[in-house]
Symmetry: C2
Subunit: 495 residues, 2 copies
């Protein structure tokens, strides 16, 4: 049966109109104000042809205006393709074309990218500054949301290096928000600090929780540990989403001080956390919920409560209430506890699939179970341990990097025969990419040439931090690259 | 798309095995213990033939064992008909037959009713004492619940006086629990006192919240204001469900004392509350959430926050986040704010319909909107005011009483020509039924005869508290009984 629930922002503005929705750059905006602004923007979007089901792409920074654009698109029932603003124009153009976006809403600040995108993307491009100055027409506001409808699309790279658009429904976001509340609790005075990008599910999910919970967000344009500590105090922040790097910097900046008593917890995502930091947090009485999640699960899927953070070190915890995890062998059969295998996830916050990719969707989601490609096991008490994130995934400062994508760029150089990219430990970012290259004997290509090539084609965080030349790459009999050997080599080279 | 989520009690026992689930008569039971007991009972139920989809009726008191039986039935996927233990054997037998129950699980304490039921209900009847002594067989525990499946059925009388079985799905209970949490908040230390009957949705919904929130319940076998105050203090109770009578007695018993600071609120259901009591609660700083709900909405549907309890006196508040309310004219067209009309409700916690009553279901639920028969209006700020509960509904101590049912019993007496029943104000119960009778000239029937007839056929709370004889009842041209006139007469007679 189709499940309909009322328009979230409209309902929220009717229930708690005067409560603070967003605090941005010192200004407080109530739910009523955000609703009114979003309604105006919805009219402006309708004026440029966006309506129910439209594929509308956005390239936005962490800003109050971005929240309003995202809310407006949701209210008129568009399917919003939320682009990562750290990508190069080439990467963005590829996603715009792959998604068949009907238009792009961007910002003046991205003028360089906008211009370059405009060379090949032949659909309308509006900056928010242009959009906000338009008169608009009567928008068709969705009075109800059907939980099965797609509302957002976010691209993630796959193991093949080919990014795919993950479709997220209203229901996915709803269930993610309620599952999180059932785990972390929910208080009227809750306020969530968002210094993670709202183009990622980590940040976007905070926008959704704000509407569903009636909770204020402290929105930061970027992460700055000094500003974080000031605003936790100043705005009675109770929860903050972080990746390991952010938590480490925040705790260091805190020094001998303590966080205020109203602060409830850090929700830590985006890969494993160093033990020393967790130990430090425990000593300081800072509760950290470590979590496991991905774009395909619309944010956290499993979390480890602070009381287990040391006894179950390295675990991602247990699946949230509506969620299930299974460890399976290559044939998809369930494995017993302690056995290593592929991590399969199931739940109402799991994506229905990939945009315009019926075949990959069917290959990855079978009988409701999403095959994550990640390897792990479940212990006898039901705690999940993630051993390898899709074997070759590199997580750098919370961003996912797929080696295949970088390898593709490196191999496009005529002087290169073979290329292998792996993650290398890094004190600041957790991991950074390191490349291993086999060049043609006659080629005079240098590491600098390759770095420049990557800078041109890839987001900066994907550019290898080291390039080493080898005679040949370690491959097995089936010619499969032995990344483990490369990782060992990267580690040895780094020492 | 079918929505599947893991077995609630099993999941809860895996997430927080050692947390207190139920406190009953001084004993604490953890979720692990309740799960283990429920699993054993599930096996015993399977042993007597109960399985997925079985229509299993229960006649239970507020007791830890009852929670276990209800949980066990839910885990094996039975459709549980939860009978009101205040009804007479006649009324119970009617519901057992109407529901086509395959068996009845009851208690020794109801031996009188059980015996009488056994005369006409020819299916197996087990007391819990018998059931718990059975060896049991391997039960088919539902690993996942499909939110669209019916899990409970509760009978409510209708305007016609014919009780109907309201079907409640897993999804109805789920959405009710999460909607309530989004409204009242949710804290790890929350503990809910249940002194309302668990055979009503008001009590049963607390059992569901316990599983979904991981929250402890303080379960009372019956309401006793002294015990309530002791246990609020003793067990750090934070929330309690009450009807007006219970709240009044509790506040009186409290006298000059205050409730402990950890107590968060009373959730008040089952009809309107007297202003003097609300005023007293405000003075004492006792937060009261007034709510509007019914069996058909699986508990609260709208609530009024304490900050509005006086400025919006008499209002039932606003529809909870996933819920919608519409005021409609007789043709079902939406009316503007301030206009009086029928209250229609829509949301994922609204019943799919009445058991074995396709026609009445279709008549009452149209395009997702349940026509409640209640009359009210919505003010310009969106607050709901209920003017008349189904025009003739009497609410006595939180129990719904339909005049037609009592009138039917009265009219069955050969000396009676006409009968009309209305609610009369009562300081203790809010309302009590008052009957007006037209008897045959030749009949010597007395009020005492009629009271005895009612006591034999109706639950005690339905028996009229006064009987007045008249020459004829006030009826309009279409012979429709003018209950308003009778209500005025009852009021005048009482003064």
């Amino acid at each position: 049966m189709e499940q309909l629930i009322p328009n979230w922002l409209k309902k929220r503005a009717s229930l708690t109109p005067d409560r603070t929705a967003i605090i941005f750059e010192g200004q407080h905006y109530t739910f009523k104000q955000i609703y009114d602004s979003s309604l105006r923007t919805a009219a402006q979007l309708a004026g440029v042809g966006v309506g129910k089901g439209s594929l509308a792409a956005v390239l936005l920074s962490n800003h109050k205006d971005s929240a309003i654009i995202l809310y407006a698109l949701q209210m008129i029932g568009a399917r919003t393709i939320i682009l990562n603003n750290r990508l190069t124009a080439k990467e963005l153009t590829w996603q715009l074309e792959d998604s068949r976006a009907a238009l792009l809403v961007t910002e003046q600040r991205f003028s360089r990218q906008n211009q370059e995108i405009g060379h090949s993307f032949k659909k309308p491009i509006f900056t928010k500054e242009e959009l906000f100055s338009k008169p608009g027409t009567e928008p068709a506001i969705q009075e109800e949301y059907s939980l099965g409808d797609v509302t957002t699309i976010m691209y993630t790279s796959g193991t093949t290096g080919q990014p795919k658009g993950v479709m997220q429904t209203y229901g996915n976001h709803w269930w993610s928000a309620t599952a999180s509340a059932l785990n972390l609790g929910l208080r009227e005075e809750d306020r969530w600090l968002c210094a993670v990008p709202i183009f990622h599910i980590s940040g976007y999910s905070i926008l959704m929780r704000s509407l569903i919970y009636g909770m204020g967000i402290v929105l930061h344009s970027s992460f700055d540990e000094k500003k974080v500590l000031v605003d936790i105090e100043k705005y009675n922040t109770t929860i903050m989403s972080v990746v390991s790097t952010m938590l480490q910097k925040t705790v260091e900046e805190l020094g001998q001080d303590k966080l205020p008593p109203f602060f409830r917890c850090f929700l830590l995502g985006g890969g494993p956390a160093p033990i020393a930091m967790l130990e430090k947090c425990r000593q300081k009485g800072i509760p950290v919920y470590q979590s496991f999640g991905m774009t395909e699960t619309s944010s956290q899927f499993a979390t480890l409560s602070p009381e287990y953070s040391l006894s179950k070190l390295g675990s991602a915890g247990k699946a949230l209430f509506p969620n299930q995890i299974m460890i399976a062998d290559e044939q998809g059969n369930e494995l017993p506890c302690m056995a290593e295998g592929e991590i399969l996830v199931k739940g109402p916050n799991v994506t229905q699939g990939y945009l315009h990719r019926e075949q990959e969707t069917q290959a990855n989601i079978r009988e409701g179970w999403l095959h994550t490609g990640d390897i792990g096991y479940i212990d006898s008490q039901g705690f999940l341990y993630v051993l390898d994130r899709r074997s070759d995934l590199i997580i750098s400062g919370g961003e996912n990097i797929y080696p295949a994508e970088i390898e593709g760029v490196l191999l496009s150089h005529p002087g290169i025969i073979d290329a292998g990219v792996v993650g290398m430990e890094d004190p600041t970012w957790g991991q950074v990419p390191a490349a291993f290259i086999v060049k043609r004997e006659e080629s005079s290509v240098t590491d600098k040439d390759l770095i420049n090539l990557c800078l041109e084609r890839l987001a900066k965080y994907k550019v290898p931090k080291s390039i080493a030349f080898m005679d040949e790459l370690p491959r097995n009999g089936a010619k499969k690259l032995l990344r483990r050997k490369l990782r060992e080599k990267a580690k040895a080279d780094g020492e």
